[in-house]
């Protein structure tokens, strides 16, 4: 399923391209306290990110807390203005559009949020919550709306008779289905899923992932799928982007990124993510990174990963590595690293655990 529909900032969008983000930058000002709130710094949440998403494709976005993945999602959805860069949807530039001009595009780009408790108004009935998109965009009223809502509920695996219930009467997995139904109401082309299954138990998580896959097949949806669980992202995605501290560390079709990671950060992330398999856990060479993610207010110079990188050399602190294909890899597999990991190379690791 991999193809050119990855995070490649290629020239000229093909007909298969739905969304293009170019050089997106989002800085949040840090202000001093007191009478005159001077800007004393910038949180560089997203710093020059480019990506494309093809029709019917899923782009996975992974990274740790504070890497800017949720900020990027909110910029794409037009929920917060971007500092610079462009967001193009179906050939239309939708960067920082005024509310009214943005409205038709809001129908096409919907979001599903992480917290199935916080994202539903507890005092409104489920039918009203799912019906909101119809009301806001004035596409269906009265009985027509009710019928549309009940069809949606049935489609996502909820009992349509529960139309008049409150969110509190549903479990976490069912609430997430409500969120999916609401996102689906206006038949969007792109759904941005921000950690949609992180709050769910594994058995329920699998139900929701299967539902998202079915809906993608039925409606030809594209997903931007954000998660910190690498196995979940690998399962759902066609291409993957790994972010670190506001920048893309590595991007490409999922198999080369997962099987032959070239960026030391990707390699560390993959080696650290716990696999539910004792034998591979015992034999795996783990790369234990030292320290914590630095502050995005004052990020490290050059490659932002260099203070924690087992391979860092002088050049890494001086110049910012380009996101580009590396020798020996596929041309769509991009890495931003001066000294990419070679096949078979073993990075600093702790000793092997005793076998099971």
């Amino acid at each position: 399923m991999s193809g050119p529909l990855s995070a490649v900032p290629a020239d000229g969008g093909g007909s298969g391209e739905l969304l293009r983000v170019e050089n997106l930058v989002k800085y949040f000002p840090v202000r001093s306290t007191g009478m005159v709130r001077r800007t004393i710094g910038q949180v560089q949440a997203v710093d020059g990110v480019s990506l494309t998403i093809g029709r019917g494709q899923t782009l996975g976005l992974v990274g740790e807390t504070g890497c800017g993945k949720s900020t990027l999602a909110r910029c794409i959805a037009g929920l917060i203005p971007v500092t610079s860069g462009t967001v193009t949807f179906e050939g239309h530039d939708i960067t920082n559009l005024p509310r009214r001009a943005m409205r038709p595009f809001r129908r096409e780009i919907q979001m599903i949020f992480q917290d199935p408790y916080g994202s539903l108004n507890p005092r409104r009935r489920v039918g009203a919550i799912i019906g909101d998109p119809f009301a806001i965009h004035k596409t269906a009223t009265g009985n027509e709306r009710k019928r549309a809502v009940q069809e949606l509920m049935e489609r996502v695996g909820l009992n349509p008779e529960h139309y008049n219930r409150f969110p509190a009467e549903f479990s976490g997995g069912q609430r997430q289905r409500i969120g999916v139904a609401r996102a689906l109401a206006l038949r969007p082309k792109l759904i941005i899923c921000d950690e949609p299954v992180s709050a769910l138990d594994v058995s329920i998580q699998a139900q929701v992932l299967n539902l998202l896959a079915d809906l993608q097949d039925d409606f030809g949806l594209s997903y931007l799928f954000i998660a910190h669980d690498l196995e979940v992202v690998r399962h759902v995605s066609d291409s993957v982007i790994v972010m670190y501290l506001g920048r893309i560390a590595e991007a490409g079709p999922k198999d080369p990124v997962y099987d032959t990671p070239r960026h030391p950060y990707t390699a560390a992330l993959l080696s650290a993510s716990p696999a539910a398999d004792p034998e591979s856990a015992a034999s795996r060479q783990r790369i234990i990174l030292t320290g914590d993610v630095p502050s995005p207010i004052n990020p490290p110079s050059g490659c932002r990963f260099h203070p924690r990188c087992p391979k860092a050399q002088e050049l890494c602190s001086q110049s910012v590595p380009e996101l580009e294909p590396k020798s020996g890899g596929e041309p769509t597999h991009l890495t931003a690293c001066h000294y990419p990991v070679q096949a078979g190379e073993i990075l600093a690791s702790t000793g092997r655990r005793e076998p099971v």
Partner: protein
């Protein structure tokens, strides 16, 4: 005799809606230097189970015994419990931000813990020990960071500070309740490594409570899978992952996306976990079980030995030999279902098939 022997522990909470049966007859033991992994989903009773051992479930009705080092922890008075808690049994909770007091310095909180249990330690000595402990758990520049407030620590450092606090009195048993759930993968790897290293250094017993089978695969020796307040299956880590007997364990393993599995579709468990007030009759898992038989509706299965070794126990009516995912085992399960499923169970099986996601379990 094991360090901790829990026998037939039952915990229930009377509420306005009815009695919540959080733990319903659980037995297990932990030996010095071993790690018991307790895995289960929200509401399976895994946290209530361990908090009851420490007397942290006020308002509950408890029965059963929990022998720790010759003392029954159940029914222990608050003064006696306070001497064991912290000193002999330490706890590391999930959320390091709410477990540390925001208005006191981290070092002070560790020193306070030491002095609360041993009045002969001076403030200065306690502070020295706090610095030493922070260094042992890998906090850089401990003599400077000891005077930081919790908000000045990152999430991983806070969890390290919690572990330092847990270690401060050299406990015999550490209970870690989802210690890495709030942390990122690379930090989680650091913390799990730290726990393992410290355990090996001091031969402590460890109970690791988690919903993450990846964590279990990493550090447990024995595993107990809990469902609706009971142990569904108990076995060595190897058997749980490679030769599961209980359909719930099997379902959990199949729910996880894995790169090795070629299948495009996940195989979730249908339906929702049951209410602990109105539990299903018979086996609590039967309304979600693809192998439901007539007796599952009326009789609750007890843990019994399955497979070859006696250590592997499962609470399921399926034949003891039907373990693992091999075709022969699946055939044995199908045969048992064929003989054991009649009108009543067939109706339940139909309901399961009709529920969302029902189609995936054929």
């Amino acid at each position: 005799m094991s360090l901790l022997d829990v026998t037939d522990l039952r915990v229930s909470f009377p509420t306005a809606d009815g009695v919540v049966q959080a733990v319903r007859g659980v037995s297990f033991s932990v030996d010095t230097g071993r790690t018991l992994g307790i895995v289960g989903e929200s509401g399976s009773g895994k946290t209530v189970l361990t908090q009851t051992l420490l007397g942290l479930t006020p308002g509950s009705q408890v029965s059963g015994t929990a022998m720790f080092n010759g003392v029954n922890l159940i029914g222990l008075g608050p003064d006696q419990m306070r001497r064991i808690r912290g000193e002999q049994i330490a706890v590391v909770f999930q959320d390091p931000l709410t477990s540390l007091h925001p208005l006191y310095r981290v070092g002070w909180q560790i020193a306070e813990m030491i002095r609360a249990h041993d009045k002969s330690v001076s403030r200065k000595q306690a502070r020295e020990r706090a610095i030493d402990l922070l260094g042992r758990v890998g906090i850089p520049q401990p003599s400077r960071r000891v005077d930081d407030y919790p908000h000045q620590f990152s999430g991983g450092m806070r969890q390290r500070a919690m572990i330092a606090m847990a270690l401060s009195l050299s406990p015999k048993l550490i209970i870690a309740d989802e210690p890495t759930t709030a942390l990122d993968a690379t930090v989680q790897a650091q913390i799990l490594d730290l726990l393992l290293r410290l355990q090996q250094e001091s031969d402590t017993a460890l109970i690791m409570i988690t919903h993450d089978l990846g964590v279990i695969a990493d550090i447990a020796d024995e595993v107990m899978v809990m469902y609706a307040g009971r142990a569904a299956e108990k076995a060595s880590k190897h058997d749980i992952f490679y030769a599961p007997h209980h359909p719930y364990t099997k379902g959990l393993l199949e729910s996880i996306p894995r790169s090795s599995a070629a299948a495009d579709r996940l195989k979730p468990i249908t339906g929702q976990p049951p209410s602990l007030i109105h539990l299903p009759s018979g086996c609590a898992f039967h309304p979600r079980c693809a192998y439901v038989m007539d007796r599952c509706l009326t009789e609750e299965p007890q843990l019994r030995s399955v497979g070859d070794a006696g250590a592997h126990k499962s609470a399921c009516w399926l034949p003891a030999a039907a373990i693992g995912t091999a075709e022969a085992a699946e055939a044995a399960r199908r045969r048992a279902v064929g003989e054991g499923r009649h009108a009543a169970a067939a109706r339940v099986a139909e309901e399961i098939a009709a529920s969302p996601e029902g189609s995936v379990i054929a």
